[in-house]
Amino acid sequence: MKLRILTRYLFLFAIPLSISCNSNHEGASSSAVNLTPKKDSLVFTNLYHELQDMEMLNDPRLSTECFASGKQSHKLSKDLEYSIGFNKLFQDIPSYQGIQKISIGLKSYSKNKIKDAVLVVSIDNAKEQKNILWEGKPLLFEPPNNWNNNSFSYDIKPEFISPGNSISVYVWNKTKEEFYIDDLVIDIFGNTKVANDVLVSNSNFFFDFETTEGIVGPENIKATTAHSGKQAIDMSDGKEYGPSIVKTISEIATEPFKKVSASVWVYPTQEKPNLVLTASSINEQSREAIFWEGKSTENSIFPINTWTKLNASFNVPSEKLTADNKIQINIWNKGKTGVIVDDLEIVYGTPNERKGLPSALELNTQYEKEFTPIKNTPPFDVHYLNKKGSSNALTEYTSKDPIVSGNFIASSKTDELVCIKNKTARIYSFNAIKKEFEKIAESNTNESSLFDPVNIYFSGDYNSDGKQDLLCINTTNGTWQILNYLNNKWQIGITGKNSLKENWYKQHAFVSSGKTFTDKDALIFNNGKAHITLQLINGEWQEKMINITASAQTVFHANDLYYTGSIAGSKHTLVLNKDWRFDLKLISAENNDPTIRYMIDFKGYEADHNPKYYEFTKLVSGNFYSEKDLSLLVFSFNCADNNFDGIKCTSIENNKQFPNKIELYTFEK
């Protein structure tokens, strides 16, 4: 059956209003996807926010006598010279290196005139107990018997910023008078890097010494008792220095990191081994050590003729290093006793910082007040698609294969699938009783030219004749045809006079079809700034561009895929973006205003085989399960290609841990 379209969707050119097909892009170029690392971009933003509303429990310095918010405030009196305040090491503030400014808000209250109460901002070197910056500004107490707003702002000079320095904010009640303060707000602003990795592709290394590749000084590697394989480092006969692993920091990361972890298996052949796993770096010019750290077996139990693991974690003084410095991991047989060493594992740095900007959510929002979501701003609530069955009949298809859905057979109320492989198109429909797709038709050999592998396919009522069309585009030359399934045969309805422009059919996210102003189905893609539509008018495809409004730019992104249908009686659109993660959202567009309603996740799958974890996932939406509610046929596959780009996969991989699968999900519980 055809999807019923609400006119209120018409503004949304890019929102598909009929069923889409989205993965028939084997021939497409990947030029639209920029997978090369981008240079880090800096954004000036709020790096840290803290509200001290003085509502915390168990502090005798707090008072319920009066308050600006909540039920208590902080009372200073003759017995209390310094207030509760804010104190943090720079290293504990996200992106502290970029700090530029601190803003402080505070409310103060007194019945009397207060002479000498000041708000202090202090930066200290905690280790040396040395003050670096001290600023005090008087608090406002006029008019009396009133909560007065104080706001201060200070620039933080780069020379003040060191990971071990601390920044404090507090009130100094110099003359020990009685007054109250409340709602201390700290905002720290500065630059932060956005989105791009500090670490490059791999920071994890494992050396089993079966080969000497990447190893400096491999002389002691030989066939011997080994923890794995046949070879290990044999340091018997008083051999003191084992092989080293030397890596330039820039091989691993874009900037120096703070930690190196390593482990090695040790097999002493003599008592009391003293084997040291070391990490070091030297100044290449002066040959002086920049740092050296080691961990020895000496104080632990390493029984003779037994494999025992030595784990180590080394602090790296990143502030003394540049990306050009080398980090050397070495095995030092300090005790010169007989010892065999194998399976060295090294992890450089710590996990990448998460992408994105700090959360705008105020810490106490959810505890003190009722949470009010901000439109199109995370966090979003989660809605689940529930698994309704697997599809054994479709096992010959993968995410690579062209599969489209639509109501091609007039007598049917639900949608069918058209699956194309080996120049054959098969039509499947869902048997609600058996909960399984069943093949109901298959193209014959004289139709094979219509289903050539160079083609890509879309479905929709492009010519507005009330029937579902199968649009077939040849990706080698842009020629196109519209096919209809009539009388148990595929028949050519329209053959394009002019070829499509290359930038259209090479567009990998050119996936969707939907209604336009003229109430016809159109092809749509999102280029990040606008929704581009292609509509068949008088036998020609005409292009229109609809700019994405600023407010909608948080909803729609380049490369989005759209799936639209009725969910629980209301029209909604599912938007999928797979650039960085599988990110499926449910959008509503009441009053022409696109709004993210939910993040969509899956339930009911086997083990932990959530479709969103797969490398090569393909969704086909349709009213397969019921004519009322949208369901999704989900192709979850992994790709064996070394440089899989998420679009074109040469070799499908059936990972034992995550077996490939095809499942049907619906919003029904």
């Binding site: 001290q52 915390m56 429990l57 168990n58 005798p60 319920t64 039920k71 208590q72 996200p94 107990q129 990795d197 670490l199 592709s201 920071s203 994890n204 390593a262 482990s263 077996t297 632990s300 139990i301 390493f302 025992t308 693991k309 784990n311 594992e345 740095g349 710590t350 996990p351 990448n352 998460r354 992408k355 994105g356 900007l357 700090p358 959360s359 959510l361 105020e362 810490l363 959810q366 505890y367 949470f371 995370p378 966090p379 609530d381 989660v382 797979k578 960085w580 993660r581 599988f582 083990a607 932990d608 959530n610 969103k612 974890y613 490398e615 790709c639 780009d645 998420g646 990972n655 995550f658």
Partner: protein
Amino acid sequence: MKNNNTYSSIVFFLLTVIAAGLFSCSNGSQNGPTLSCEKFSLNNVDPLSNYQKDSLDNHIYLDYNNAVEGFSVPSIAQTKDGKFELSFEIKNTGTAPQKFYYKIYYQNERYKFPEIDSVSKNENPLAEENFYGSWEETGIAFKSTTAIANDDEYHTITDKFRIVGNPRNDQRYFSNGKNDRWKRNPRVGEYKFMLVVCTEDDLKTIPTEVQDISKKSKDHFVNPYYFFNYGKGKGLKNTIAYTSEKSLLVVAKPNLGAGIYINDMSFNGKEYDKSYFCATCGQDSNIYKNAPIQQFINYVDASTKMENIPVIADILKDNYSKTDYNWNKSFYKKEELIPTLIQTAKHPCQTVFSDPKENKIVIKNPGTKYGEWKKESVGIITRHGFTYGKYRVKVKLTELLNKNGVWNGLTNAIWLITQGGGEWNFRRSCNKEGYMASYWGGKDDKRVAAVDYSEIDFEILKTPPYCPDNEFPPVFKNPNDNNKNINSWNIPMPDDITKNDDNITVACTNWDMACWEPKNFGVGCNPIEHKGQTYYTHRWDHWYRAITEKKEEKDDELFAGEYYYFEIDWRPTEIIWRIGPSPDKMREVGYMNETVTSIPNNQMLLIITQEYHNTQWWPGAPYSQDNLPFPLNDIPGEIYELVIE
């Protein structure tokens, strides 16, 4: 001549004791031996003549009814007038009628320091800490009998006494002129009773501080058990100090169905929601007077702010996997995270329940929802403090791991904490540089001679052992957030972790406030032997206020069954942690003694919690609290029994 007389007296005394002992052994109705000195003989000394009918049953349970101001042993419900009756027979063997003087002392024998220093043979200075007492009116020193005829007959003397808190009426425990006996409650465990009878002449030689135990000598109390058994009192000719063979085992076994009290102080005195108050939880006078338990509100450290993933799930039931964990770790952006602090109850009685039918307590970490996003710790605390004791709880706390070995982020904790109070509850002074002044400060915190902070913990969670040193820290690979390669972000945990996938760690900790006095005070991993087992203590640095031992145990064994027992055996010179399926099958999982850590001697309370920790407190923990979901459903724990003995 004098020496000869003394010698013959001793011989006579010993022979009499031996003969009486033999007689005593042959006559079950006799209470102890006949004891004699020159001027009198004693017989049938019975300190508990109105209580123990059966010598095998020497238990008495502390009566928690109306015990907020302190325990009395016995209570008014346990004997006719809330007192033990002392009786003994005395025969005047002198040449004329005379009065005799007597005093009953009691001392807790299970949790005491030996009265005599084994090296110097002088009084052990720590013996003054022992819990001993006498008549609660300490001004009544020795009582006098009426004049007893030298008629070769035994005359029965009876008196009464009870065991109460602060039996020395030590001013340290007074507040505004009131003796707050609850600040030094009677210890649990075995008590022995020493009757001292003397002649008037001998009485004059007994020091005032022995006669009146509230008095001090050179600013110290004198333990009468030392004086009469090892000190000068032992040589008094006409003084008999007899420690009865009858003993009394005091046991605390609070009725967990007797209600949960809500203390306004837990909420800092400010207004809070009382809508969940009910007959068994709240503040009514019955609960105030009789409930042994109070809702516990964890201290929330504002510095433990986390940016939590925006996921709400039931880790235990939802088949939450390591892959889920890894995906969530790699594929949420900062702006999607939920800034959060660990929460505590805002609605007292909402998450703790006292069940009077089954005499149990149920606690629940509440489930949460979108927009609320809370990880709320829950727990209960006892209301009556003790010094020392073997605390054994029968509990069914939440399972911590699901079938995939994923942790739910909770720490099941059974722990003792100082009853607070400041000076009255100070620990014994630390004589080597003092204690760190606060339990939360850093290494630059000042040191002080004494503090009231103490804590002894069972903390059970998913975290690796710190010892032996070569195994720590585990080496975790870094994930790479490439969704086009499942193996780049779905990184397996190190074998060190996965080989113990179904294990949780039982961490046993003593907060000694970094007192450097123990002779083997150590940093890093150090072995300590006990009963054939080697434990490794771990302390991060010289200023670290706590010392921990860890042992890995099966989560299923401890928390998937109907119940399990956990025991903290806190003794004056050692602490032993045990767990087991039944009281007779307890096994040691932790051991420390005074050579490695300062054992607290102040009064503490017991807490049982299911609490969320910031995993920054537990280096090497495989699951990071901020990357674990908020709980979808309530997470219950049940507490069936608490015995302190």
